[in-house]
Subunit: 221 residues, 2 copies
């Protein structure tokens, strides 16, 4: 993670997003801009980060660690969205972690400095409710739509969602868990993609060779 320090760029981003309109008070003094690179941890599971993020560019994933230590990919977060609102609303530490997939640019709000302002700002709370309600509906819709398709199609979407710079490199166990198929079958279909020339296996991960074909497959859903 890296802070973006230039005052210019902060001003610039403020102008170009609606972010400031989500608050009933001037949020800029409490805000900085941070960049998370792929695989950076945005929210540590079981931590009290003290930061509320508003991601205005990038993709991230939401993970849960089970009692037995295995990690499950649970959901995706796509800009624009809030990250870490549960910590603000209080109640224990987050029971989930968030990790950057692509480069993520976020406004980072210092909760300690303005927690009570936020919690008493109806403009902000209304917008947060709206975001959450909207996302819940969209997610539910996607869930029920998604599951009907064969793995070929779901995997194509999944690769496009998790790919970075044309490289797919998810843990197979994690991917299989999220996609609801066995490890074995995931490998099988992945091998099919390689055989069909859609992907190429490299030491760094699976390189996307035929982006168009992947997109076509994914669009079936």
């Amino acid at each position: 993670m890296e802070y973006i320090r230039s005052q210019n760029s902060l001003d610039e981003y403020f102008k170009n997003t609606q972010f400031k309109d989500y608050f009933g008070f001037d949020i800029q003094p409490y805000t900085s801009i941070v960049r998370f690179d792929p695989d950076d941890i945005i929210l540590e599971e079981g931590d009290r980060p003290g930061r509320l993020y508003y991601m205005f560019s990038g993709r991230a994933k939401l993970l849960i660690t089970h009692k037995n230590g295995t990690v499950s990919l649970i959901n995706f977060l796509e800009a624009p969205c809030f990250i870490g609102e549960m910590e603000l609303l209080d109640r224990d530490k987050p029971a989930y972690g968030v990790t950057a997939i692509s480069t993520c640019l976020c406004f980072s709000i210092d909760i300690a400095a303005c927690r009570s302002k936020l919690l008493n700002d109806v403009t902000f709370l209304q917008h947060l409710c709206y975001f959450l309600s909207d996302k819940a509906l969209g997610d539910a819709y996607n869930y029920s739509k998604n599951q009907s398709y064969p793995l070929k199609v779901k995997l194509a979407s999944f690769i496009l969602l998790t790919e970075n710079n044309g490289l797919y490199r998810e843990r197979h166990a994690e991917a299989a868990g999220f996609l609801g198929v066995t490890y074995r079958h995931l490998l099988y279909v992945l091998a099919e993609f390689v055989k069909d020339g859609i992907l190429r296996k490299t030491p760094a991960g699976y390189k996307i060779v035929e982006l168009e074909q992947l997109k076509e497959l994914a669009e079936l859903e």
Copy 2:
């Protein structure tokens, strides 16, 4: 739908739920209690109901109608939860409908009478955010956990979730859509349940004969 008029029962319910604590002002004057019977429409798709519900007992389902007219079951709502918050937060009419599965008891808040009070009540907004955020996480978790199991298991859960008075009577097409399997296959597994004596087919619907066996199956997930 039926109003529950007795002042006694309103007082009673108020005492026995935390409902009133979710508001920073006295909500009781704006609240009545309504009962929805199975299959009653709680929220009409494309309507402006003017009511915010807090369901404190019962189960309901969330439906979406597609452009081509087909209806998809999208999600379940279980007490306690809010229903219709999108209408309060404004933005057009709801793009989804909600129908009672079992008998549902709800506090019904007259939005017209206290919209601005609600939208300016940080206590309420905070609780709503919390509910929404919590539900989103729970849904995501369930979803990713769920999909791995064979239909036998998922159908068992589904039947338990949609059953009323021991009777399962969902539309097969709707159920198949939600469960992400073909109509054919759903019928196949349903027939298996009948053959195994778990369900019995009656003119009124599928009667649950072996509740325990259904529960056992469902608990595998």
